[in-house]
Symmetry: C2
Subunit: 414 residues, 2 copies
């Protein structure tokens, strides 16, 4: 089954809003075995929607459209689809009741505009939206499927998981797809490619190797599509082993995991704890850890010592160390890591201090220089990096490096 995902909204085409829905849907469809051939963002005009759907239905069996289902005048997806499929709007009582109930619960007044949300196409299958007022709609035409979902991310996700994917599983027969990712630290893309030259030549037709470089790490992905699920699985596994052995002298991790996963697993299993002391990364490391649930078993928290004074008051870094070595220095990073370890009692700590840019404060180091310290129950290690510019790259790279350094220390203990 081939699919196309269409996102409707001028706010995307003028760059005001970042489309995260497409990636989420792409991943869900991939796991199901649906081949996504394109994702497209188009304007919320009738012409753009009609021509977008025309084209997508020509190349795909399944088209999922998001956006434009709100109650306001700029939301025209529903009306356009009803016309496109020669359908008509009728009042859907169960949806009306569920919308009214939502307004009752939240103590909000119910209006005609809200009632319009219950006017739905007669021939489409209506997909109830537990988290909002815009129902999903499933149109069928000439053996093809077009599904319209709201653009609000958590509403779309709820509808996909509860309504769309279970139904797709029933109607489709999917060839098996599989992929496995290997994460390399400290190896550039071109160096990896040279080491893999022979390996790539031996790959069978149905397995592809992709290089996904990002600041500080390189992911290698083996992807396969085959009707024979067992053959596919075994092949990916065996070529994966060969790939791992090519990099036996480097740091390579199997699976689309990063060091943060290794850290989480080790700390949780061994009842150890982690705390952070961030200067230049400004909370980014803590936010990354706490973006996932289930981290309270090992993550205590820590200090964001953005201003130099907090390094002294909250972390116990000595003023003379700062005066002697400047705030961006190995000595300060070390005292920060030990300071937060002492204050929180954490088994492991991470500390960062650096010049993220675009300009430097009064330090002796250049733009892009970051010191990262890791304190373990036994010792402290500090490394100096020059991540260059721009700022966003420095912050991202410092975050990845910090997890890498901690991961390596932990792997040494295993």
């Amino acid at each position: 089954m081939k699919a196309s995902v269409i996102t409707i909204g001028d706010e995307i085409l003028i760059g005001q809003v970042l489309d995260t829905n497409s990636q989420w849907m792409a991943n869900r469809l991939h796991l199901l075995g649906v081949e996504l051939v394109e994702t497209v963002s188009i304007s919320d005009t009738k012409e753009a929607i009609v021509s977008g759907i025309d084209r997508a239905l020509a190349i795909a069996d399944l088209v999922i459209v998001t956006g434009g289902l709100g109650p306001t005048k700029d939301d025209i997806t529903k009306y356009t689809l009803v016309e496109y499929f020669n359908d008509e709007l009728v009042l859907c009582l169960p949806v009306l009741e569920s919308i009214k109930e939502k307004f009752r619960q939240r103590g909000l007044p119910f209006s005609d505009l809200n009632k319009n949300q219950a006017m739905l196409p007669k021939q489409a299958t209506i997909l109830p939206n537990a988290l909002g007022t815009a129902a999903g709609m499933w149109f069928k035409s000439q053996g093809k499927h077009l599904i319209s979902l709201p653009g609000v991310p958590y509403e779309m996700k709820g509808l996909m998981d509860n309504e769309v994917l279970p139904r797709l599983k029933k109607i489709g027969s999917f060839p098996s797809q599989a992929y496995e990712t290997y994460v390399l630290y400290g190896v550039g893309e071109s160096v990896a490619a040279e080491l893999l030259e022979t390996f790539e030549e031996t790959l069978p037709n149905f397995i592809k190797l992709a290089y996904l470089p990002s600041p500080g790490r390189l992911r290698l992905r083996l992807t396969g599509v085959n009707q024979n699920k067992i053959l596919l699985k075994d092949s990916i596994a065996s070529y994966g082993q060969k790939l791992m052995s090519v990099f036996k002298d480097f740091n390579v991790i199997e699976g689309d995991v990063s060091y943060i996963h290794i850290v989480q697993q080790y700390l949780t299993n061994n009842k150890k704890t982690l705390a952070i002391a961030e200067s230049c990364t400004g909370g980014k490391i803590a936010a990354e850890i706490t973006s996932k649930s289930g981290v309270s078993s090992f993550f205590l928290g820590g200090v964001v010592a953005y201003n130099s004074s907090l390094k002294e008051t909250l972390l116990g870094v000595s003023k003379s160390t700062i005066d002697t070595f400047s705030v961006v220095s190995e000595a300060v990073a070390k005292e920060m890591a030990l300071g937060i370890q002492k204050k929180t009692g954490a088994s492991y700590t991470i500390a960062t201090t650096g010049n993220a840019g675009p300009s430097t404060d009064q330090t002796q180091e250049g733009l892009g220089v970051v010191f990262i310290a890791i304190a373990t129950p036994e010792k402290v290690v500090v490394e100096r990096f020059n991540f260059g510019q721009p700022r966003e790259k420095v912050l991202e790279q410092a975050k990845n490096k910090a997890f890498e350094m901690l991961g390596k220390e932990i792997l040494k203990n295993q």
Copy 2:
């Protein structure tokens, strides 16, 4: 001038990577006055690239393609384009020298694969890439333009700003585009739409109103396109005033700013400082503030007290308050805000404590409940919210609410 942006890469179609390039380019093109008619992500096969370009060149005058310019075997964009435009690859000496220099500076070995990066199409205009090894390429054909850029975000951005946009400005004559955004807090989409019914009917053809709802806030956007720049600017301004007056009883902010900008402006101008004490938001508020440069003038930092023990040791929250009211409570939020104010000496502080989910710890409050406290030089205010589920929505909404609450306190003082 109409444009299409094409992102090449299987990693996007299987949902492994989030495409942030398209939004960034969309915004830059919009500011220049280019009308972006679509953004498309396609597979990195020759067939997909050729058919994607065919289609884009049929509907747009300018096509910008990103991705697939790396040195490895899965990178085929350059070879596909050279064939598509009947061009041929020749060695580009200045690019070769610049790549060699980059390797020298970083102390890395230079290989044939790297040299391949300097083999570039003879007839295309070569755009030097200061931040990487993949040069940009500008093809012209039948009055249309196709530009190929690397997919690494900061390399693409550098090439756009330094090479692509300055050249586009010279060749295009663009109709003026303008937009202004108004941010509303505490008003739902359907309520806003009813209040704006008359307003919408009076809008001229060349101005459109869009509703952009997100958890906790609603953005309204007036967009206009017109050959007459002055007429356009005046019209947007005057309809903007009318729109503002419709919401005079609510919190409405002109400009695509959020409270975080108001906070930053006020604190900087008045030499006041801010510190944070985050429990459930886990560093997200600090990370949002420090993602921008120039915040060190007012942002001191703070504490991520994810584990309850850190609330006591680092923030001075009393154990009896936690035992009596539980960790998710008005009393604890208040003591956290005052605690971080005392520890850091900040003029203003933000504190959060709540049940982000998916499960609750030992608290008396339900899933999704968050207490947010704001301490000012004069007082502390605390509010209780129920943001429901899922976790990502709770965290996002708590962050936005925190900036809104602080912004409101600050606006009261102005």
